[in-house]
């Protein structure tokens, strides 16, 4: 791969909480170019912690270190908080799982898009509103003038998610971290959100880190897949070759999925092995 947008080498995150130390992310390494890379794994495996570590949005009890965490050539861990804020706002965007928590409940969704616009460009309020409406239209929201005035509780889950995406696109990011962006959506809306993200990768050359636990979706939507188990990347595959997985955890996950047209009386369940959690070798 030629000059990746993001390069991560031996990322470690430890949480120091009242209950003791948890080594939540262990020696995770990967590169992200102008492509769609998925992180999959079960609840608690460390997917969101990786995503948040990349934008340095972890609570104070989390200690992060890495041999390398470089984004567009900059070493993220050594930047000042002010520089980091700048990158977070302009070059890296993050979509969170539940749009209703991320939107401000007492401000109309359109005003929020306008505000995002004003934060990045020196334009009049009237101009920001006009651009905000265009931005809403660009994420396939029908009747954007009407939607502009709605409050977050008045829009459906899929619309909320698209509004978040509209806001994210304003600053022209180079990388998007999407943490379970579609698990709250039904399949038809989900397809629209995915096609928007896909379009960004194809046309604007954005790198997309797609955190999910939906194996089928990842297989058809992404280019590469990192499989996490207990804080480590236990396997990395081309998405189209997920069925060739070697690791027993990945194989177990694939086998546990029901599939249309492959009728079975019982689904196979995961038979966890202690071995899966043992320390893997660090990257040199």
């Amino acid at each position: 791969m030629t000059d990746p947008i993001l390069s991560v080498k031996n990322l470690n995150v430890r949480y120091f909480s009242a209950r003791g130390l948890l080594h939540a992310v262990r020696n995770v390494s990967f590169d992200l170019g102008r492509e769609k890379v998925a992180i999959i794994g079960e609840s608690g495996s460390g997917k969101s912690t990786v995503g948040r570590a990349l934008v340095r949005l972890l609570p104070d009890i989390a200690k992060v270190n890495a041999d390398r965490l470089s984004f567009e050539g900059k070493e993220l861990l050594s930047l000042s908080e002010r520089k980091m804020q700048d990158i977070r706002g302009r070059r890296i965007s993050m979509i969170l799982q539940d749009p209703k928590f991320s939107l401000n409940p007492v401000m109309s969704v359109g005003e929020q898009v306008s505000e995002a616009y004003l934060a990045h460009f020196k334009v009049s309020r009237a101009e920001a509103k006009k651009r905000a409406i265009e931005q809403l239209a660009s994420v396939q929201i029908r009747d954007p003038e009407h939607v502009y005035g709605l409050y977050p509780h008045e829009v459906s889950g899929g619309m909320g998610q698209r509004i978040m995406i509209a806001m994210m696109l304003i600053p022209d990011p180079a990388m998007i971290i999407a943490d379970e962006p579609t698990s709250a959506l039904d399949v038809t809306v989900r397809a629209q959100v995915l096609s928007l993200l896909d379009d960004l990768v194809q046309r604007r050359g954005i790198g997309l880190l797609f955190i999910s636990h939906d194996l089928n979706l990842v297989q058809s939507f992404c280019d590469r897949v990192l499989i996490m188990y207990a804080g480590q990347v236990v396997e990395e595959l081309r998405a189209s070759e997920l069925h060739l997985a070697q690791h027993d955890y990945t194989k177990g996950l694939l086998a546990s999925l029901p599939r249309i047209g492959q009728r079975r009386d019982r689904l196979s369940v995961l038979n966890r092995k202690q071995d899966w959690a043992r320390d893997l070798e660090r990257q040199p």
């Binding site: 079960e42 609840s43 396939q140 929201i141 029908r142 459906s156 889950g157 899929g158 619309m159 698209r162 698990s183 959506l185 039904d186 399949v187 038809t188 809306v189 989900r190 397809a191 629209q192 995915l194 096609s195 896909d198 379009d199 636990h213 194996l215 089928n216 979706l217 297989q219 058809s220 939507f221 177990g252 996950l253 546990s256 999925l257 029901p258 599939r259 249309i260 047209g261 009728r263 079975r264 009386d265 019982r266 689904l267 196979s268 369940v269 995961l270």
Partner: protein, 258 residues
């Protein structure tokens, strides 16, 4: 004769000028021992149908009968003992400050059952949780264990029908497999009948012999599993669902329809 028979249900929600028709002429039948599925887009009324059957909404028109008794003529408590519901969210649906034993005892006390201790033990065993779980709080359980507790709570009253509202969509696929297997085992052991709501057609296909597809408060199509496997679907919405289900088609991005 069908165990559940629903015919021509209409329901409006919201007061005054904000009142909207949410269900429009919903009809279907479910045989004893069958699992009947409901799929459809978000907001199409799937959860609302379950709420009507469970008796959580009462101002619908039409008729709902279970085992020959109509909802109007039945005793409310008796209806509730026959028909129990399991909700989607294993985190939200259990009271955080109550021990598992209290959570399971509550419906038994409301229905004035005796022998509460034994019944709790039995229900926990049915869902594969040992007696040591009795004195735990929900936050001390994993997502899959919490969902098992929610199922146990629905089972303590020995219902004939379980209404399952997206019972596995908050769970990892490996845990989903365990819970779906559990539902199948319980259906055999306890001779249960299910109505299952899911947005995952593969889950519906695995569990249900037949299912209804809903859109905007209406049933647009009722299909058997065999028809689904053979791709014999006719409503455009079902086709979109089938195409979008489980995978993303890079070649044919969906048209906008917000």
């Amino acid at each position: 004769m069908s165990l559940i028979s629903i015919s021509d249900i209409d329901l409006h929600l919201g007061a005054g000028t904000r009142s909207r028709q949410i269900l429009d002429g919903i009809s279907f039948d479910v045989d004893e021992g069958q699992t009947f599925g409901l799929v459809g887009e978000s907001g199409s009324g799937k959860s609302t149908v379950l709420r009507c059957i469970a008796g959580l909404y009462r101002h619908w028109t039409g008729s709902i009968a279970v085992d020959g008794d109509t909802f109007e003529s039945a005793d409310r408590l008796a209806w509730c003992r026959k028909v129990q519901m399991v909700f989607q969210d294993p985190y939200g649906s259990l009271h955080p400050k109550h021990r598992i034993s209290d959570i399971l005892a509550e419906p038994l006390q409301i229905h004035r059952f005796g022998d509460i201790d034994r019944r709790i033990g039995e229900a926990l065993e049915q869902v594969g949780l040992g007696g040591q779980f009795r004195y735990r709080y929900p936050h001390q359980l994993s997502g899959g264990q919490r969902q098992r507790v929610a199922i146990a709570r629905a089972l303590v009253l020995r219902p004939r029908i379980l209404l399952l509202d997206e019972p596995t969509s908050a769970l990892d696929v490996s845990i989903q497999a365990e819970i779906l297997n559990l539902f199948k085992d319980l259906r055999e052991e306890l001779n249960l009948t299910y109505v299952l709501v899911s947005h995952d057609l593969a889950v519906i296909d695995h569990m249900c012999s037949a299912f209804a597809v809903m859109q905007a408060g209406k049933i647009v199509e009722v299909l058997t599993r065999d028809a689904l496997d053979a791709g014999q679907v006719s409503a455009p919405y079902t086709r979109a669902l089938l195409e979008a289900s489980g995978h993303y088609d890079l070649a044919a991005p969906p048209s906008a329809q917000s």
